[in-house]
Symmetry: C2
Subunit: 381 residues, 2 copies
């Protein structure tokens, strides 16, 4: 077990920089006086900390603010979107994506390259991704933004900087390093999509994000942070048991959710989600039946998930987002009936607000979060 380190003078200041920046970030622009009130520090200390943050370019003074009725107006200090930014990257089965996000969580650039990455060559694909990253960073530079870190979303399990297993890409134990010459992180697509929903979907701080892709995953956010489990493998909703002796699944189990509600099952012979939506809109009975079955299975799996994870709400994303009108009924009915006597009401069931960009935005947002949480360490203050 790791013993935490003692607080020294420099770490005290580092922490206070983070506290002030965090207060600005969480509850919008504030005057120095308001920040002092919020943080419990004195006005003097806050002034000194804000001076450092101004110099680092992470905050700006944003004109005069009339606080109460009387007295000298204060100067609002807010996050600066003009100098520091981060890069989000994504490898998905069908495409590569990149985006640049500034400190205010405004999306400044976005690029997508369609590709068929099933059973692709890792070295070649990573070279492609490196090119995309470099282009995007250069464009951000041309717009005056210094990209100071990057994160990558992948459809698989991750340990450190190694992609352990991505069944739909056909990859195992691929070490992803040196992709960019910046602080770098990799994470699972469902986890980052959940964080994307948190930071860019203007969600509450507590929800379970259900990521419907080729596989079905989920990311649980509690009090604004992601739950990862012991080995970082938590949230594998796709393999929750729905029917104990159902059809075999690639995981070794039987009757997993993915068998009933994975993209391949939903689409059948169709070649896109929009094709399925057309069929559903025109009342095609086979499509409706498939969707109802998937919704029922999702209701069963989510019941188990609610009992175990206790999420604040449930957000359906990925391919489940466009199918929401047809899934909502069966899922909500299943949850409502099965949770009837355990809770006053089941968690609210809503649709994702940010669609397919969730993961790549979450990747960029993760680095933003790191800047906010440890500005001194990241920016060298």
């Amino acid at each position: 077990m790791v013993t935490s380190r003692g607080v020294r003078h420099d770490s005290m200041r580092a922490r206070n920089l983070a506290v002030v920046l965090g207060a600005i970030h969480r509850s919008g622009p504030h005057t120095r006086a308001a920040l002092a009130e919020l943080t419990g520090l004195t006005k003097t200390t806050v002034s000194s900390l804000v001076a450092d943050l101004l110099e680092a370019g992470v905050v700006t003074e944003r004109g005069v603010v009339r606080g109460g009725e009387r007295g000298r107006p204060g100067v609002a200090v807010s996050l600066s979107g003009h100098r520091v930014a981060t890069l989000g990257l994504e490898i998905n089965v069908d495409y590569l994506a990149a985006c640049v996000v500034d400190l205010t969580r405004t999306v400044r650039l976005r690029r997508t390259r369609p590709a068929d990455n099933r059973n692709s060559d890792p070295a070649h694909l990573l070279q492609e991704l490196r090119g995309l990253a470099k282009e995007t960073i250069d464009d951000a530079g041309a717009a005056g933004l210094r990209v100071i870190g990057a994160a990558l979303a992948v459809p698989g399990t991750v340990e450190g900087e190694t992609l352990r297993s991505a069944p739909h890409l056909g990859w195992r134990d691929i070490r992803v390093a040196g992709l960019v010459d910046l602080p770098f992180a990799i994470d699972n697509e469902a986890n980052l999509a959940a964080l994307g929903e948190l930071w860019f979907g203007a969600r509450e701080t507590d929800f379970l994000y259900v990521s419907g892709e080729i596989g079905v995953g989920a990311g649980l956010v509690v009090a604004g942070s992601l739950f990862r489990g012991t080995f970082g493998l938590a949230g594998e909703l796709g393999h929750v048991v729905v029917v104990p002796d159902g059809p075999a699944c690639r995981c070794g189990g039987r009757g997993c959710l993915e068998v009933y509600a994975g993209q391949d099952t939903l689409l059948g012979a169709l070649d896109s989600v929009s094709a399925l939506v057309s069929r559903l809109e025109s009342g095609d009975p086979r499509a409706l039946e498939t969707c109802a079955r998937a919704g029922h299975a999702l209701g069963v799996a989510l019941t188990s998930a609610v009992h175990l994870l206790d999420p604040g709400m449930i957000v359906l994303g990925g391919v489940f987002a466009p199918l929401f009108p047809w899934l909502e009924g069966p899922v909500a009915d299943g949850l409502g009936a099965r949770l009837a006597h355990m809770r006053d009401s089941p968690p609210a069931l809503v649709v994702s607000k940010i669609g397919p960009d969730a993961a790549v935005l979450g990747a960029a947002g993760m680095i933003i979060q790191r800047i906010i949480a440890e500005p001194a360490e990241v920016l060298g203050l």
Copy 2:
């Protein structure tokens, strides 16, 4: 969202006291020099902090320690079990329990009062418990121990100091306050049993404790802390869906784990777990069949739990502990087969080391943990 407070001089010292005490607690007795090494503080600072902790009575000097081969030997500083202690309390369906634990997590006193608490009168039972608590605190005082806080384990869901729902007691929305004139907390029995296993069972820091009682619950410990979910309701393993259209359960669902592996189902007409164990030992086919079915259901529910929670290992406790020899096979087989292609190996399956005292010990331990984590706040340093 609450903004965290800035670090001031006094909170810096408070934090460093906690860091030093935590290091002593986690990795056994240490000399001041070793503590300086561990915490990153200087020897001078550590000496000063240790002096405060000595004065507060939470640590003692424990004789001379020969560190390396040469040089002046140091004085080991270890937790003191002689002055400060905490009280654990438990209301269960069949009994009331109390225990006093000192800072070294040694159990100093233990009391149990058998009772039939099903559908009992809350006011009367709490009065009974208050008496038990007072007696136990007085006895601890006679042994020179100052009890500085208490916690209560209950078989139900808890919010703040209110017991929201305890179906097997027949209680709803009972506010438990003024039970003792000390800092006080209540928590769910499965949660506290998990923490009991963590602190008194000499377990790893990562596991899922499965609490088999009248109801089936679970407490997940990740990196030495308990996962509670958004509303504190996480870990309701008993209502994970095993068979989606199985028999109705009191929760409103169908085919929940509790229907197959709850104590009432396991015992049937028998009146105690030991009676069931006798039958099993003598090869009674009906008992063996019931147990095999429960093991199979537990394997299915735990598969879903492993996918969602990603526990480091699985510990079977409560009534599952004496039944472990008959449950282990079916549970391990189920987990092994269903997780075959997802992990190198399924989480280890082991039996609880501390038996039925887990929850009451966890309750006392929780207050100990609070002293270790914030000594300055709790002890007024």
